[in-house]
Structures are given as C-alpha cells and as structure tokens.
Symmetry: none
Subunit: 204 residues, 4 copies
C-alpha cells in the first residue's frame, strides 16, 4: 500500500502520528508537509520515502484513526455482560476519552467531506461506518436472542444507535450550552434502549 516496503515501520508510525497532530490542528489544506516533518524532527523530503505524497499521507491517517475508533467499539463488543451493559460500556469509553475524541473531530469531519470527493477516502469511510454498525448489531442481536430486548430488527436498530451517537457527538462539540456530554448521551441512549426493550412490532 502506501507505506513503501523495506522501510522502517517505526518511522512510518511516527509520521502518521505527527500528521494526525498537525492535521487536527490546522486542517488538511493548511497543514504542510514541512509541519509534519518538523513534528517528527526530520526533513520534509524524508516523508516521501514513506508516503507517496500528501494525499497518501491523508489516506494513511484516515486508516489509522478509523481503525482506532473501531478498536474501541470492538473492545466493548468483546466484554462480558449483558447487551445493555456492553452498550453502556461503549458509550462510556466515549466520555472517558473525551479529550481524544474532541481532538480528532476536526479530522473526522474533514474525512467526511473529503470522502465525498475522493474515492479512496470514501471507501475507507464506508467500510468504517459499516463495521461500526455491525459491531453494535452483534450486541443488539445478542440482546434480542437473550430476550433482553424486544424482537427488533437488530441491523436497523444498530444503525439508529450509531446515527444517534454520531449526531450527539456533533452537538456536544458545537453546543454552547455546556451540556454534560455524559448526561445527554446517557439520556439519548436510554431512550433508544428503552425502545429496544419495550419494542412491540409497532415500527415500519
């Protein structure tokens, strides 16, 4: 792929890490290759030994960030406990890692914008979103099978839950009323969980 073979993996990771920091702070367009290089204390040109160019670096950053996010979700999946407990565990990681999440949001939204113009970015994002839903779906499905939830369509419910969380994060970031993210998130999700539990075939 983008990182060339035969080249130190450590350096590759350093560069990606630096790029994340720089991109988050300045945005893709204003961040320069030199900014990134300075962050690692290497020469600008060295980056080109590891990535084909700025676009490739951006793509690598996208891959890294999204796989991290997925990792958090996967961790929640892998926990023991009831479906409800596992869902709660997941959104709690969000609030616990509040600083990290906030830090990455500018990049994430740029990816969302960029993905609508670059196919390579779009692919990686579509895959990420799809997998996010699948993770939640697995948990919900387990809850349905255990009788913990009503007989909901697990995939649709997972999509709704994913959407809800994404939307809440956006509000959280932009809301001036310094709402406690924890409270709002808990409230909203309970709302849906309650729907899951009480579900009685009413929805389309």
């Amino acid at each position: 792929m983008s990182p060339k073979p035969n080249v130190s993996e450590m350096r590759t990771k350093q560069i990606i890490e630096a790029a994340i920091a720089v991109f988050a702070k300045k945005g893709f367009a204003r961040a320069t290759m030199e900014d990134v290089a300075n962050e690692v204390s290497i020469n600008k040109a060295t980056i080109y030994n590891y990535f084909d160019g700025k676009d490739a670096l951006i793509l690598a950053v996208a891959g890294e960030i999204l796989s991290r996010e997925l990792g958090d979700l996967q961790a929640a999946c892998d926990m023991p406990g009831t479906a409800t407990e596992r869902l709660n565990a997941f959104y709690e990681t969000l609030t616990v890692k509040e600083a990290d999440v906030l830090f990455l949001m500018p990049i994430l939204y740029e990816f969302y914008a960029l993905g609508l113009r670059r196919d390579d970015v779009r692919t990686i994002l579509a895959d990420f979103l799809s997998q996010s839903v699948s993770r939640l779906e697995a948990i919900i499905q387990a809850g349905v099978e255990d009788g913990e939830f009503g007989p909901v369509d697990a995939r649709k419910a997972a999509q709704a839950l994913t959407a809800l969380i994404d939307g809440i994060v956006l509000q959280w970031i932009y809301t001036s009323e310094k709402v406690d993210i924890n409270v709002q998130l808990r409230y909203s999700i309970q709302f849906v969980l309650q729907g899951l539990v009480n579900y009685k075939e009413e929805a389309a």
Copy 2:
C-alpha cells in the same frame, strides 16, 4: 456582516450562489476565487468588491446554507397538525429534497471541521444547531402539552431527535448497502417517536 453595504445585492447573491456550487464540487481549499468568478462570468478581482476575501466568502456561504436548512425546519414547525404529523412532515422534506441535501453535504462537513478552527464559523454553526434543536423542541413541547407524547424533557428529546437525523444522513451518504433513506429514516424516527409516546419517567 461580510457583504459590504451600498453594493448591488444581486451581485452579492450571485457570488454566494456560485461559491456554493464551486465549494461543493471542489472543497474550500481547492476551489479558487477564479473558479467562483468564472461561475458568475465576472473577473476574479470583482469578488473583492463584495467580500473581504476568501474567508469572508466562506463565512457568507455558511450563513446562507445554514439559514436555508433552518428554513426547511421552520416550515415544518409552522405547519398545522399534530406534533407527530409535523415531525413527519419535516423528515419528509429531507427525502424529497434528497438531491439538494446530498449536494450540500460536502460543504456542511467542511463547515463542521472548519468551525473547530475558526471562531466566526463556530459561532454560526453553534447557533444553527441550537436553533435546529429549538425548533424541534417547540414541536415536541406542544406534543407533550397536548398529551400526544409522554412527559418527556422536550429539549433533551429534541436534541436526541436532531442527533439521530444528523447521524442518519451521514450513514445514508456513506452506506454502501443502498438503503432506502426513506425507510431507514422512518424506522429510526418512529423508534424515537414511540419512545416519546410511551415515555414513563424511566430515563435519567
């Protein structure tokens, strides 16, 4: 505001319209002032008679787009009918104007990213989000007062609903499974509406 006084308003609007088209297609960074000028068939330099520069133009575009979106929501608010009917009416405008929404999403996400770095953009976005919630809150509050919904916290419910819609739009854009946005949207919102109706003080 940004547009200077005493200057043809029509020209100002033309430029904003052109900028929307160009920004949507190329993104803020890659779109050039010349691109915008060409779209209006005027000279690049002329734009500077109407806007202080690219940043000001971007801000003006943000204002325009967001006020349009709010307009749609306001229209739903102003409709006659029950709360449920009005909520349904709103999300149906989304699906009806599908093409427009899709077209503007790249810009919108860039705004979300940009707002985290530019205070003027942030202000306008925060205001937009806050007002979006308020519009929905008004409807929900009416529903609560009419006994159509349970005794929910109307603001929190509105926030949840707003978040849900934003999140679904994201999925819609990126999901490869060519889910019918209509179906998914309807399903998810029913989910919440059902929660509103059956609400019984359980949530935090």
Copy 3:
C-alpha cells in the same frame, strides 16, 4: 494556443525573447522560470499568465527560433538572380549572422534531442526541416528548368544540400581547427553545386 488570449502580446514576446537568452545560456533543464522572469524583470508567476508552463514556453521558443531560421531561407528564395546566386546568398547569411547562429545552436540541438521525446516538439521540427528542404528545392528546380543545373532530382538534391549545411554547422561549432566557416562552407557547397551542374544521370 499556448499564449493565452486577452493578454499583452508585447509581454508574450518579451518573455519568449528572454527565454531564448536564458535557454541558450543554461539549457532547458538548468534554466529556471525565475531566470526567465528576472531577464524581463517581472515576477516568476507572471509568466504563467502567458504560458501554461515551462514545457509550453519551450515549445513557443522552438516555434519562434525555427520560424526565424526559415525566414532567412525564405529571404534568399525571394531574391532575384540565378539559382546559383540565390543559393550563395543563402549561405552567406549564415556566415554574416555567425554570432546569432552560434548563439542559437545549443538550443537547436536540445530541440533535436527533445523532439525525439516530445511529440509537440517533434511536429514543429519535422515541419521546419521539411520546409527548409522545400525552399531549397524550389531554387534548385528553377535552376534545372533554366538549364543552369543538370537534370537532377530537385527534392533529393535539396535534401542533400540541407543535410550538408546542417552538418557543416555542427563541424564549424565543434571543430578545434579554427577553420574559416566561410571557406569550408563555400568549398562544400561548390562541391555540390558542381555536382548539380555536371549532373549526368549517373546516381542511383
């Protein structure tokens, strides 16, 4: 074509002139756009208002130089007098404009090399060479018809004469024995002219 419309022709010519000087001195590769700009005392970026890039500039220079050379040849064609006189007139311009010719040779040879790799350059060169031959052919043909020369194949003879001149210029430039170009040129061409005059169907 390359020079954009609506833009001062004088400036375009200035730039080409400057480019000729710079390219001749440094070669295409080592000459920078900034060198050219400095020669005209304008900003580097301004060149891009007149030419699409370095390649386009090189092509424009090729066109300019070759059309000048053709002009010299055409002038000889248009002279009054016998075929022999006109041929003599032509090669005398070479020696008269010795300094100019020497000055342009580095560029010309780079064109010959470049034309083997770039189709646009090749086209312009092939056309130039073909027209050079045609000009001489016209003179020779006139000489044949006037009985001044024997019944030679005018085109082939013109090709031979063109080749001879090109080759002599090369020797002239590189020969260390500071041969008088005038003498050598005269000798060689007389050699061919004599062949033209005495021609008796012997060649293949």
Copy 4:
C-alpha cells in the same frame, strides 16, 4: 578518467550501459540516478562508488558512445578494397544498424547541446568529430593517390562527407515522408563521390 580505479570494471560497464538506456529514453535532465540504479538492480548510492556524480556519468557515457561510433568508422577504414568500396561499406553499416543509431540519437544531440556548455564534453566531442573526419580523410586520400578520385583536398572533402552524413541522419530521423534512409543516403553520397571522381580544380 571518470571511473575510479581499483573497482570492478564489470560493474562500471553495467552502469554505463544502464545509463545509456536510461538517458536515451528520458534525457539527461529527467533521468535520475535512481533510474540508472534500478536498471542495474543496484542501489542508487552504489553508483557513487564508480562515478563521481551524474556529470561524470554523463561524460563517461559520452566517451563510450562516441568511441563506439568511431569504431564503426574505423572498421570501414580497415577493410580491404578501393576507396569507393570502403566508403560504401561505411554508410551501409549505418543502415544496417538503423535501430541502434535511432536509439542513440537523442543522447547524441543532447551531447551536442551540452558540449556547448561543458568543456569536458566539448573536448570529447571535438575530438570525436575530428577523428571521424580523419578516418574518412585517410580513405579519400588513398583514393586520390590511387587515381580513383580527382586531385581533391582530401581533408576538405572528408569534412564535406562527414557533414553530409550527419545532416542526412538528422533528416532521416525527423522527416515525415518516410524516405528510405538507404536510398537517400546512397543518392547523396554518390553525389559527392561523383564530385570526387570528376573533380577538376573548380572549387575554391
């Protein structure tokens, strides 16, 4: 010379060979040391064990190519037979090795251009041209002494012949009328040979 002593000669030759291929294809400026290295499947840095740098490599390539060309000419000189036969033999090698000649022309013309700017290249080229003429001169002189040719100035005639061949090759490469090089070459040279034979003190 350029290649450092005490170093595998085979490697040196490999590199020169690779450089010829790469330079011919891309030109001196666009060809990179890495291109050359890749062609030999060695590391870029290794080349610096054999040559002082790119300029030295170019010079070595010049030496190699020119000495090959001279070799062809020398072979014709060394043949048995009359002067005319030997001259014919020489130009026939040109047509026989058509592919090779065509392949090397881009390099050769770049040398001609480069030699006007670099003294080391100029020296090697001047020497080559001078020796080329000398080889032909020897043949012609023999022809004169044998009474095969008229009492021409052998050196001047050799210069004319050399020039003619160089010029024809140029036409050959660039001419769009897909002239058979063989025919044109034969015609032109016969033209001169005929002049040699019939020579009667008429030229300057």
